[in-house]
Every structure is written in structure tokens, then in C-alpha cells.
Amino acid sequence: MDITLQVNGLPRTVDVDPRMSLLDLLRERLGLIGSKKGCDHGQCGACTVLVDGRRANSCLALAVAMDGSEITTVEGLANGDELHPLQAAFIEHDAFQCGYCTPGQLCSAAGMLGEPGPSAVTPDVLVDPDLTPEEIRERMSGNLCRCGAYVNIVSAIAEVAR
């Protein structure tokens, strides 16, 4: 069936199999390979994209349910040749090794920076917390990195959050 959605600012109309996930639509049909499939079960975060500005696991979303949505993938983070500050910080802080979780980390961090409100580690839930390393670690724990670059991921995000 036909759906129309905005992907990185461009309208796309696609005929999709109703069993197809948003992730497979991006990777297999639209050639946007930046969003990664690590588990296909919403357990690793490698497929994280922004759906209408909020981070979401694209492997858990059916493509047909995305009709009318605005999707931002890692390919849409940079402004032309100018990297998103998170992308530049990830390079400077060596916040990745194999790079396979990186697009999801970046989209997740981009979404996270815009999310107000407390987390499980916020001392006073009535006060919007500063993004301390502890807050960043908590809020980024939906994105696994098997290379173990967390220390550098947190320092990269902290620099941008400042």
C-alpha cells in the first residue's frame, strides 16, 4: 500500500509491504543505510531515528503506520557539508570504534538534548536537571555500544550539551 512521509525534509511516496518495518523501508527501499539493524527488536538502539522530532526505534515501527510522519535519520543531521555539533564531537572524542551503533547514538543524543523533564537518576523530579554525565548515561542507555566507547560518547555529548 502507498504511504507518503517526509524523510530528511524530502517527501517520499512508497508502496510498502504491510509487514515492513520503518527501518527496512529506510534501508532496503530508500537506500538510507545510515540507520542500522542491530537486533530488530528495539533492544539495542542502533536503528534510532527521529520521528516528528522524537527519538524512536525504527525497527519497532511499521512503515505503514508512518504515513504523514517526518523522519530524520543520521543522513539528515548535518547541514550540507557542515557536521551537526554532535557528529563533530563524536569524531573529536573518538566516541565510536566500529561505527555501527553510531548513527543510533547520534540520533538518540540529538533527540535527548531536546527532551525536558526528569529521569530515573534525577534527584529532584520537580526541577529540570542539568545534563550531568550521570544524566547523560541514564538517558543514553537505550543505545548499546559493544566496542565500549561509552566513556567517550558521554564526554562528546556533554561537550555539546554545555
Binding site: D17, R19, M20, D24, R27, E28, G31, L32, I33, G34, S35, K36, K37, G38, C39, D40, H41, Q43, C44, A46, T73, V74, E75, L77, A78, L83, Q87, F90, I91, E92, D94, F96, Q97, C98, G99, Y100, C101, T102, P103, L106, V121, I136, R137, E138, M140, S141, G142, N143, L144, C145, R146, C147, G148, A149, Y150, V151, N152, I153, V154
Partner: protein, 676 residues
């Protein structure tokens, strides 16, 4: 310098195996055995073949042609015998992933099941001594009289440690896209740690000369060993493509990765140590019990670090293996050293406690002059310096050795130490250096699985040529490039780098091109004990209420020859230590005794460390000059980071709680269980 491929990785443009745009690509989805042992009586594909988009079903009903001597794990659909639950027994091929998966579900398999045996135990009647353990060490060694050494000891320890099945779980699932051209040449985009050896194995499995196969792996989403040997998905892609006459893509699911891409064998390890009143070892015995499959013998070298670490007049190491109805174990980061040093360094901590000697000091007192088992001189060994430097940085001198006495609210606090080690080897490699447009092109079939190989080879070439790194361009990840060994055994940089240096040296002589093959050079390396060493320190907080273990601090101090790139090295070390934290506290695959195969086959149940689990992990290193290694003077650093971490954390848990947990992982349930 930053990673050469940093920009393509953060913009989503780096191309991993499943991501090459290939016109008309079809998809194959495997069917896996539901029994652990027995025979496939019949595969009924009639329903699947009638489904939309289906191009074919492969199974033992029409065995594809393979080389008769193909590896048992790669000989797909050749035999009706089932060796383990989860083994690939058929596959459906269709125009889309969705159609292939639905068709695979519709393939009906009838089995003739037999009784299976999947449980490793130290009294298993099938245990035997393998001829050698990986890669080619004697299974057993013995010097001196262990029983006499134990009898004369002032303090003894006799303990058994167990480690579970562990899975590498790189973030990128194993994937392959296979294409045959009109001349019958096969191209495989594969997630592999070594394009050259992968080409050789795929060609050998299919019965083709290596010149008819090309493997491309420009970016690999982690491996940690499980992409170090050819896995069945790549063979399946090639066979399916040959069968349907179209390019075929195979991407394993996370669950399938648990079944068919290898794992770290579970181990049962008995350590018997004896020491005199000053803490000097009188005897050291390390016996490891491990499993392999009925298909292939894989004998992990778990007890081998005991042959290197400490001076003991009586030293015995032994490995016993049992062949079970399980998948074949394979390489996982520091195979042998990682589980072996967990047990050895934990037992040494027990000895220190029993003898009333500081665990840093105990290790210093047992520093050997030469390698204990071989008697060979060390090319360099700075374990003591690592221990001393780590103790200084960590504040070890303020440590009260008494276990279970520091409490802050619900939290029990403790610290622990362990040594680490990993061999420093190299293998023959080829490389070519040429001048192109005034810059320098380096070609070598190396693999960058996240280690930073592209970047470090760029630096090595630039330094040899005496030019800025931005004038050097490295091509790797393609078997059509000069032959290179696997990214494994912490040998990548040492092996490929040696060839790159020699190629650059020759280029400087003739000004045009250098071609290197280090086979002869490596063959004449002097016989020496070459190892990297390190010391790991951990601080833990253990909740007396929930049993949760937190790790606020991990410090690793390493001596690994010359560090070629500080940024990459630090990332490798702390990455290994982070994986070691997972091994200590959370990672465990369960074996299903009733039905065979594994349980917890996903990332919601097999827990790897998440961001919130990892606080302050720091790695530093000592300057170490060693001119007996290779032209760069480096020792491999990809694996030593994971060696010793779990022991340091376990020892810290004991220091915090007074509980000695000898079975990994150290879960809240074990912390809170009543003392035996």
C-alpha cells in the same frame, strides 16, 4: 589524528556488508534445527515454494555441491545428521526479506530425534586430552612436583572457578551479499575480520580456486573474534545465489547469531596454589575443562597464561575437552587468556588473603626471571611496573585489606586488583606502496573492525615515508588487495604494519613503488617470550539490600611496547575493560539442557554493559621500548584490555562483601544467596 573514516561513520555513509546497493538482490532466510541431535527425515518445501516471491528452497533434499572436505560448520545441507539445535538445515530464497522470512516459516521439517547431551561437567565421561590447544600449544605441561610443592607450602588454595557461555555480540549482525558473474567468479560482501582468509575458506568450501572468489569488507561493525573465521551465512549467500541465479543477501538475526556464529566455551577451572611464608609460590596447577561440538574440535587455550605469569618451581597446566551436542565454540576477545586469567588472578587473590599478603606485593614477589614454562627470556616484561604505577594512581596504599568492613548506607565498598597479559605475535603479510598523484597509496587486505586499522596504518606509512599523514591513503578490506592475515590474536597492526613499513622503505629506495612480503622476515624472528602485560584495578559498590554491584572506577595500566596512536589505544583498552565489566557482572548465555541450544538469545536477556553501567574507566600505559617485536616496536592491544578485568572486579566484590563468588557472572542473586 582523528579516525580516517570518522566522517563517513558519523554521517551514515560507511558501507557495511548488507548495505552495498546491488541490482536485483534477493534475500535468503535460514531454517534452523529444532532438535539438538538426530536426523532430518524429510524437508517439505511445497507450501513455501507456492508463496509469493519465492525463488527457491535449499535443503538436504537436494544437497548443493560443496567440497568434500568442507568444515563441518560450513558444509550446509550436506548431511541429514543434526549436530546441535539451531544448526542451519534449510533456507528459503525470495524477492524480498519479508517474503523469504515467511517462506522459511512455511518449510516443514520432520525429524528423527535422538538423545542429546549438552552439559559440560568436570566429571563427564567423555572428557579427553586434545592433541593441542589453540592455536598450537601443548594441551598439558608439567615442571616439578606439584604435590610436593603443595605439601611443603605454608598456605594453599584449592578452588574451582566457572565461567558461562559468552557471546561476542558485535553490533553489526553477520551479513553477506553474494554475486556470481558471467565467468563464474564469486564476489561476497561479507562482515569478516579478514578478507584474504575468508576468501580462502569460502573458495575451499565451494571447491573453487581462491582466484575465483573476492571478498570485500570495507567497514565491519565489530567482531571480537566471531567474524574471524568464515561463518555459515556467507556460504549460504553464495549457494543461494548460485541456486537462483541472482545476487542474494543473507543477514542473520540477533537470535541466529547466538546459534551459528560461535561463542566462548564455558569453562570449569581448578586452581591449586601453594606458597611459602613469604608468599613465594611453591606450586601452581591450573586445569581447565571445556567443550566443543561433535563437528569440529575447538580447544581453547584457557590454562596457557599460567605458563607465562609467575615463577613456581612446580607448575602444571592441563586442558580437558568434551564433545557435546552443541554448536562449535569459537574465538571471543582474548580466547584462553580472558577466562584463564579470570580464574588464575582470582585464585591468586584468595592466596593473598589466606597468606595475609597484599595482592600487589604477592604478584611482585612471584615475578619470574624468564618465562616459567619455556625458560625463554622475555623480549620485555613490565608487569611489576604496571602494578606499582596502578597502585600509585589508584591510591592502593590507603587500602585496608580487611574484607566486608566499609559501608556507606546500603553500599558495601571494596577494591580489587588483577594482572593481565596477552601474547605479542605477528604473522606474514603483504603490502604495496605506490605514488599516486604525488601522494602515497598503501594497499593491504587488512580489516578495520573498529580497531582503527586504517588510521594506524596511515600513521605507520606516513612516519616511514617522512610525510604528513594526509598525504597517505590506505586501501584495505578487499581480498583483491595484497594478502593479509586476519584481524585477530592482537596481531593485526604488528603483521600488516611490518609489511607496510617494508613496502614504504622499498618505495623510498626506488621512488615509485614498494612491494613487501614479510614471510621470510617473520620466519626468522628470534625465539623469545613476547607478551604485553598490565594491571587492572577496580572499585565496586555492592548494595546490601538488592545485591546490585556498581563499578564507579576501573583503572588499567598497560605495558604494550610502543603505543602507535594514543587516542586509538585508549579506546581499545577501555573498550576491552568495558567488555570485561560485562563478563564480570552480567553476561551469560544459558544452555537449554532439555531441548539443546541456547537460551537468552537476544540483547534484552543477554545483557551487555549499557551506558549507565559504565562510569569512570581509564587506561594509561608505560613507555616500553622493545626492539625484538617488529619495525614499529608495538605489541597488540586489542585484547589485553579484557584480560583481568573480571578478576579485578570479583576480587573487589570479595573485598567489599567478604563473599567469594567463583561462578560468573556475579549477579545480585549470587550476592544475596545464603552462604553455603
Amino acid at each position: 589524528m582523528n579516525r580516517v573514516e570518522g566522517r563517513v561513520k558519523v554521517t551514515g555513509l560507511a558501507t557495511y556488508a548488507a548495505e552495498y546497493p546491488v541490482e536485483g538482490v534477493a534475500h535468503a532466510y535460514p531454517v534452523q534445527s529444532l532438535i539438538a541431535k538426530g536426523r532430518v527425515a524429510r524437508v517439505d518445501a511445497s507450501q513455501a515454494l507456492d508463496m509469493p516471491g519465492v525463488l527457491g528452497v535449499l535443503s538436504v533434499e537436494d544437497p548443493p555441491q560443496l567440497a568434500p572436505d568442507a568444515d563441518g560448520e560450513l558444509a550446509l545441507f550436506q548431511s541429514r545428521d543434526v549436530a546441535y539445535r539451531g544448526q542451519l538445515i534449510a533456507a528459503a530464497v525470495a524477492d524480498t526479506y519479508e517474503n523469504a522470512r515467511a517462506a522459511a516459516d512455511a518449510v516443514r521439517v520432520e525429524y528423527e530425534p535422538a538423545d542429546h547431551d549438552v552439559g559440560l561437567r568436570a566429571d563427564h565421561p567423555g572428557l579427553y586430552r586434545p592433541e593441542v590447544v589453540n592455536p598450537n600449544y601443548p594441551a598439558d605441561t608439567e615442571h616439578g612436583d606439584v604435590e610436593a610443592g603443595l605439601a611443603e607450602a605454608a598456605t594453599t588454595v584449592d578452588v574451582t572457578y566457572t565461567t558461562p557461555v559468552l557471546h561476542n555480540n558485535p553490533m553489526e549482525p553477520h551479513a553477506a551479499v553474494a554475486l556470481w558473474d558471467a565467468e563464474g567468479r564469486l564476489l561476497v560482501y561479507n562482515s569478516t575480520q579478514g578478507a584474504s582468509p575468508d576468501r580462502d575458506t569460502i573458495a575451499g568450501t565451494l571447491g573453487l580456486p581462491p582466484s575465483r572468489v573476492r571478498v570485500v569488507a570495507r567497514h565491519v561493525g565489530g567482531g571480537f573474534g566471531c567474524k574471524g573465521s568464515t561463518r555459515p551465512h556467507a556460504v549460504l549467500a553464495a549457494l543461494a545465489s548460485r541456486a537462483v541465479g541472482r545476487p542474494v543477501k543473507v543477514v542473520l538475526t540477533r537470535q541466529q547469531m547466538f546459534d551459528v556464529t560461535g561463542y566462548r566455551t564455558p569453562t570449569i577451572q581448578r586452581l591449586r596454589l601453594g606458597a611459602d611464608a613469604e608468599g613465594r609460590l611453591t606450586a601452581l596447577e591450573h586445569v581447565a575443562y571445556e567443550q566443543s561440538s561433535t563437528l569440529v574440535e575447538f580447544a581453547e587455550q584457557t590454562a596457557t597464561p599460567a605458563r607465562t605469569m609467575y615463577a613456581a618451581p612446580a607448575l602444571r597446566t592441563a586442558h580437558r575437552l568434551v564433545r557435546l551436542d552443541v554448536a562449535t565454540p569459537s574465538w571471543m576477545r582474548a580466547p584462553g587468556e580472558c577466562p584463564g586469567m579470570y580464574a588464575l588472578e582470582s585464585a591468586l587473590d584468595e592466596l593473598a588473603c589466606a597468606a595475609g599478603i597484599d595482592p600487589v606485593e604477592l604478584r611482585v614477589r612471584n615475578e619470574p626471571e624468564t618465562e616459567p614454562e619455556s625458560g625463554l627470556p622475555f623480549s620485555s616484561r613490565n608487569l611489576v611496573a604496571c602494578l606499582r604505577e596502578g597502585a600509585r594512581r589508584f591510591g592502593w596504599d590507603r587500602r585496608d585489606p580487611e574484607p566486608g568492613v566499609r559501608r556507606e548506607g546500603e553500599w558495601l565498598v571494596g577494591t580489587g586488583v588483577a594482572a593481565s597479559t596477552y601474547p605479542a605475535r605477528r604473522r606474514p603479510s603483504q603490502a604495496v606502496a605506490t605514488v599516486r598523484n604525488g601522494d602515497f597509496l598503501i594497499q593491504v587486505a587488512a580489516a578495520d573492525i573498529g580497531t582503527g586499522a586504517r588510521t594506524v596504518l596511515t600513521r605507520i606509512a606516513a612516519e616511514t615515508l617522512g610525510v604528513a599523514p594526509d598525504r597517505v591513503h590506505v586501501e584495505l578490506g578487499d581480498s583483491d588487495l595484497p594478502d593479509a592475515p586476519v584481524a585477530g590474536g592482537s596481531m593485526g597492526t604488528a603483521s600488516w604494519g611490518s609489511a607496510v613499513v617494508r613496502a614504504c622503505e622499498e618505495l623510498m629506495k626506488n621512488g615509485k613503488e614498494g612491494r613487501a612480503d614479510t614471510t621470510d622476515e617473520v620466519a626468522t624472528d628470534a625465539e623469545l617470550a613476547r607478551h604485553a602485560f598490565g594491571a587492572q584495578f577496580a572499585e565496586v559498590r555492592v548494595s546490601a539490600v538488592t545485591g546490585e554491584v556498581r563499578v564507579p572506577r576501573l583503572l588499567g595500566v598497560f605495558a604494550a611496547g610502543r603505543i602507535l596512536d594514543a587516542g586509538l589505544a585508549r579506546s581499545q583498552f577501555i573498550g576491552g575493560m568495558t567488555m570485561g565489566l560485562g563478563m564480570a557482572l552480567m553476561e551469560e548465555t544459558l544452555t537449554d539442557e532439555e531441548f539443546g541450544g541456547f537460551l537468552r538469545r537476544d540483547l534484552a536477556q543477554y545483557h551487555v554493559p549499557a551506558c549507565a553501567d559504565v562510569a569512570d574507566v581509564e587506561a594509561v600505559w608505560l613507555e616500553e621500548e622493545d626492539d625484538a617485536l617488529n619495525p614499529m616496536g608495538n605489541k597488540g592491544i586489542g585484547e589485553i584490555g579484557i584480560v583481568g578485568t573480571a578478576a579485578a572486579i570479583g576480587n573487589a566484590v570479595h573485598h567489599a562483601t567478604g563473599r567469594r563468588i567463583r561462578d560468573l557472572p556475579i549477579t545480585p542473586a549470587k550476592i544475596l544467596a545464603p552462604s553455603p
